[in-house]
Structures are given as C-alpha cells and as structure tokens.
Symmetry: C2
Subunit: 336 residues, 2 copies
C-alpha cells in the first residue's frame, strides 16, 4: 500500500497543504518545516503522484518534445535549447522520437495517445500538410508545431522562412561567381513542405540571376543524412558537366557531399563550392569549415516554450505563426 499525502502529513504533524507545497517546490515553506516533511517523505518512501498533482493544480510541469530522429544534430541542438528554455518557465521536458513513423505522429496529433503526463507538446513532425488537414479533430492538448510546415491555422507554429533561407544561400553562391549550381535534398514525392519550399527558393534565386534551371542538377535525398549527401554528390560529380557549386538542404547532407568531393579528387571551394542549412557545430570545425544558413534554434525554442505555456494558461488563444530569423554564415567552403 503506497504512502499517501495524508500519511506524510500525519507523520510530519503538518497540514496536507504544507506537504503539497513542499512537494511542489513552493518557497513559502520554512526551511525547518521543509526538512521535516522531506524526512518523512523519505521514511515512508512517498512518491508524489503527478496526476494527483495535475488534478489539484491543473499541471504536471512536464512538456514533451517530439522529433523524428534524436541523433540528427539539428534536432539534438534543438532539444538542448528547448530543455533550457523550458527550465526558465519552471517546466521539465522529456524528448521522444517518432523515428519517421507516421502512425505514431498521427496518434500524437489526434490525441489517441492522450495521457495526463504532459501539460503540452512541442512537435516537429514529418507529416504532410494533407495529412494534417485530414485530421478531423485535433487533440485539446496544447501543441506547438515546429519546423517548416505551412501554417494551417489550427496549431501554434514556429517556423523559418524556408523559401527565403534557400534563396539567400543560392544568391550567395551566384554572387561568388558560380553558375552551375546543384541542389541536394529535393524529394521524389512532393509531399513534404521543407524540400518543396527550399526547392522554390533555389529556383527563384537562379531565375532572378537569369540562370537556366537544369533538372539534372537537382538531386533528391530520402533522408537528410551524411550518407545520402555523399551518394547524391557522387552522382552529380559523375555527370558529364559537373556543378561548380552545391546547395545542400541540410548541413548533414553537406558533410557527406564534402567527403564525396574530396574522394573524387576535387577541391573545395576551388572546384566546387558548398553551402548547407542549419549551422550545426560540426560545420565550424570541419575542413573546410562549412558555409551555411544559420537557423536560430535558441530563438525557436524560446518562442515555442512561450507559445505552449501561454496556451496552457489560456487554452482558447487563437493559434499563431511565429517566423524565426535565419542568417547567412560564410565560411571556407564558399570563400573566394
């Protein structure tokens, strides 16, 4: 029979409210009282019940961050920043990964997986816009979507301007004198927003500069991984007229592509310039260091935490889209 709050209160000879205050970490409990209660909690092995706490306070103090793959550097950096931003609001974050499992994502969004564990969810999904719209009844759990899906008006959403970010990267390559500019990261299926938007930015920058769009220079990547970047770059370099620059839709793709360029006996940036998106730390130490479009994960994390905590307090808030800034970072891989 597990010990209850009442057991602790009786043994410590304090009110149940005092025990509750100690458990919740409220500061308006004297240090002496706090110590006595904690001793009894230890003695009875009392485990505060987060759901009971939730019923009293309406809060568990826990948020979930759900990402497709936890070992992708962009997502692990985002997780670090979300955990830090949440701490400032008194929340603790647990990180979950869906592993590209659309069913699991759909369950999360439609609330089939609803539990009382979390006060809110920050969700960086892979599901497509069509799938989002298909969902007839979004869960009532406060959710903030992260990433580059189009804003559909039903969820809070923190995103970057993907079209502009891609445009800026390609415009930089053009300004440094490149004319045969390849892209790695297009998707064979037109279902994901991110590759579509980055392809649009890539093509608009080329068009503005009067450069013809050559479909042979746009290579798909099933995952934004080093392996897929390597494979796509190797294919590009084997073509009769090879590119003089590559825009990779992620830094991780660029890391694989750089290695493929070296393995082909070519130099970066002399033979082929290369630029990514994300600004992962790895790109600051690689040789050459990687030019990139920096996404501000700390800003994204702060905004997402601000939105989800606001919605926890005020469930009827109208959903809002926040656009996070991006910045071109020029390093050795595109230096003149």
């Amino acid at each position: 029979m597990p010990a209850t709050l009442r057991d602790v209160a009786e043994r410590a000879q304090v009110s149940m409210r005092t025990v509750s205050n100690v458990v919740s970490g409220y500061t308006h409990v004297s240090e002496k009282m706090r110590k006595r209660v904690l001793e009894v909690i230890d003695e009875l092995d009392y485990r505060p019940n987060p759901v009971a706490r939730s019923l009293r306070t309406g809060r568990t103090g826990l948020l979930a961050l759900v990402v497709p793959e936890i070992d992708v550097p962009y997502f692990s950096a985002l997780a670090r920043d979300v955990i830090n931003a949440a701490a400032a609001f008194g929340y603790r974050v647990m990180v979950d990964q869906t592993g590209h499992d659309h069913d699991q994502e759909r369950e999360l969004l439609t609330g089939a997986d609803r539990t009382m564990l979390f006060d809110g969810i920050l969700f960086s999904p892979l599901v497509t816009k069509a799938e989002l719209l298909e969902m007839s009844s979004p869960t009532r759990m406060p959710i903030v979507l992260l990433g580059e899906h189009e804003f559909d008006g039903r969820y809070d959403h923190v995103a970057i301007d993907n079209v502009r970010a891609a445009h800026d990267a390609v415009a930089h390559l053009i300004a440094s004198g490149r004319t045969r500019i390849a892209a790695i990261g297009a998707q064979p299926l037109e279902e994901y927003a991110t590759p579509q938007q980055r392809t649009a930015g890539y093509e608009s920058a080329l068009s503005e500069a009067g450069i013809d769009i050559d479909p042979r220079l746009a290579k798909p990547a099933a995952h934004y991984s080093r392996a897929d970047g390597y494979r796509a770059a190797a294919e590009l370099l084997a073509q009769s007229r090879r590119p003089d620059a590559i825009f990779c839709f992620s830094d991780l793709l660029a890391m694989g592509a750089m290695r493929a360029i070296f393995d082909a006996g070519l130099s970066i940036p002399e033979d082929v310039a290369i630029i990514g998106v994300d600004d992962i730390e790895e790109g600051r130490y690689s040789r050459p260091s990687l030019s990139t479009v920096s996404l501000d994960t700390a800003f994204i994390a702060e905004q997402a935490i601000a939105r989800v905590t606001a919605r926890i307090d005020e469930p009827e808030l109208p959903p809002r889209e926040v656009v996070a800034p991006h910045a071109l970072v020029v390093r050795e891989s595109t230096a003149h």
Copy 2:
C-alpha cells in the same frame, strides 16, 4: 471537472472494464465496441490516467533515459539505440538531460524526484563514485547505470573496459611508430572514473613499450567537446617539443584537435597522428576520417534494456555488471 473512466462507461453504455480494455489497447474488444468507446472518449475529452493504469497493472510502460548532454553525438546515438531496444520489449523511452547538474542527478538517484511516471531509469551519470557511495538509501525505482563508473554492487551497470580501450588506442599509435604521444581528456580533478581509467590505459601502454610518461603531454579537458579539444591541441602544438600523435578521450575532442592541427599548418597523420574514442558517425566522413575505439552503443542499449526490464519483473535480482565490447577502428588519421 475532467471526465472519468466511469463517465465514459456510462455514456458508451459499456462496462468500465471494456473502457479500460480499449484504453489499454487490448485486442479482445469487438471493433464496433472499440469504435463506440473511442467516440465517447473523444466527446468527453477523457484522458486515461497512466498512474491509475500503473496501479492496476503495476506498469506505465515508460522508461527514462537520463544523460548529461543530449546534443553530444555519443549520447544522442545511445538515445536512438535505447529507444529502439526498448520498443522490442514494448516500452517507450523518454530522454532527459541533467546538463551536468549534480544536484539533479543526486535527486534522481536518491529518489527525491521519485514519481510514478516511469517503470525504470537508465542513467548515464556524471556523479563520482564517492558521491554514489554517500547516498545512504538508493531509490527503489529500478535503475541501470550506463557508462564507465566502477561497479559498486548496488546498481545494475553496463560499462566498457575503459582501461583496455585506452590501452588499445595508444598501443596502435606506438605500433605505427609514434613515440611522443599526447593525451587530451584528463581531468584536473580526480573525481571522475572515465578520465582516470583512460589515463591509466594510456600510461600502461606507454610503460609496456618502454616510453617515458611526460606529464606535459597530458592535457585536461573540462568537457569532452570540440572546443576543448581544439584548445588542448593548440596548447600541445605550441610546446617546444610537439607530440607526433594525440590520443583523445572522445571523438568530439578529436574533431576539435584535428582542426587545431590544420590551423597550425601541420598534416594528419604525417606530422601528427590522431585517434579518438566512441566511433561517432562524423568521424567516418571527416577529412581525414578518424581512427577510433568503437563503443557498441546498440549492445549497451540492448543489455541495459534487458537488465532494467528484468529488474522491473523481479525487483530483488542481485545487481550485475555487464561489460560491453570495444574495437579498434583504423582510418586515415593514423594510417601509415
């Protein structure tokens, strides 16, 4: 007033047991019944209570993985493998980071943070052996310690043979003709097991080869980060007699050190050979690719999940230590 299981049962005109079966995902409920219950659950916005489930079944189906820093590639790879290994046992894993916060770690281990959220915890702590021993009453929560702490007999423990791993790395450098072999990763304070054990392996390999131990060649690193690796390598290269090889206690340190070597105008491996520990994916694509001692995170994850699930079923199991294998991986950074 949140809806209860009873509310759902009454509205759906089924027994509470049927609602409970639907919520638990048991299959012996007719599809028609299941659909009716789910509709009412939606209608009433009923959120099943995982703690109530826990009181009925003794399980929440949730495990926690606690690591110091989620954005260190070794830990994010470990998290990926733990999530996959747990899925095979029907468990879901939430990842938490302590951010080098000893107080938070101590709370976890002593159970001050005890909740009924998790059936068990996999814990990769930074706390020292002395701190572990200080804890008078370990929590009754099933815990498996990961990493290289000495086995203290009170917790299940999955570790690698750190002394041997370091010895193998340094013996490889000696076999390739290096004699002035530096080490990056020693700790200024002698409180952590990992740097102590790796230092012991480094020194034993040198001694066996009849090479004098030169304390100027052992550089501390406060964190096992690229930045600390860069800084330590730059210091080593600025010394009057520079090393001809560096053993880094982690691949991430090695990534920083490699960049420092290039920035000093030197070649790898011609001027300075370099080897790390961990086998993170980054080291397979870097230029040069990084020799390393590969730690089998998939094996560590599987063993840890097997131990924690065994302990959940059988709380009185005697704690056991499992030693995970390691393997020398020779790549370009130490090639002849």
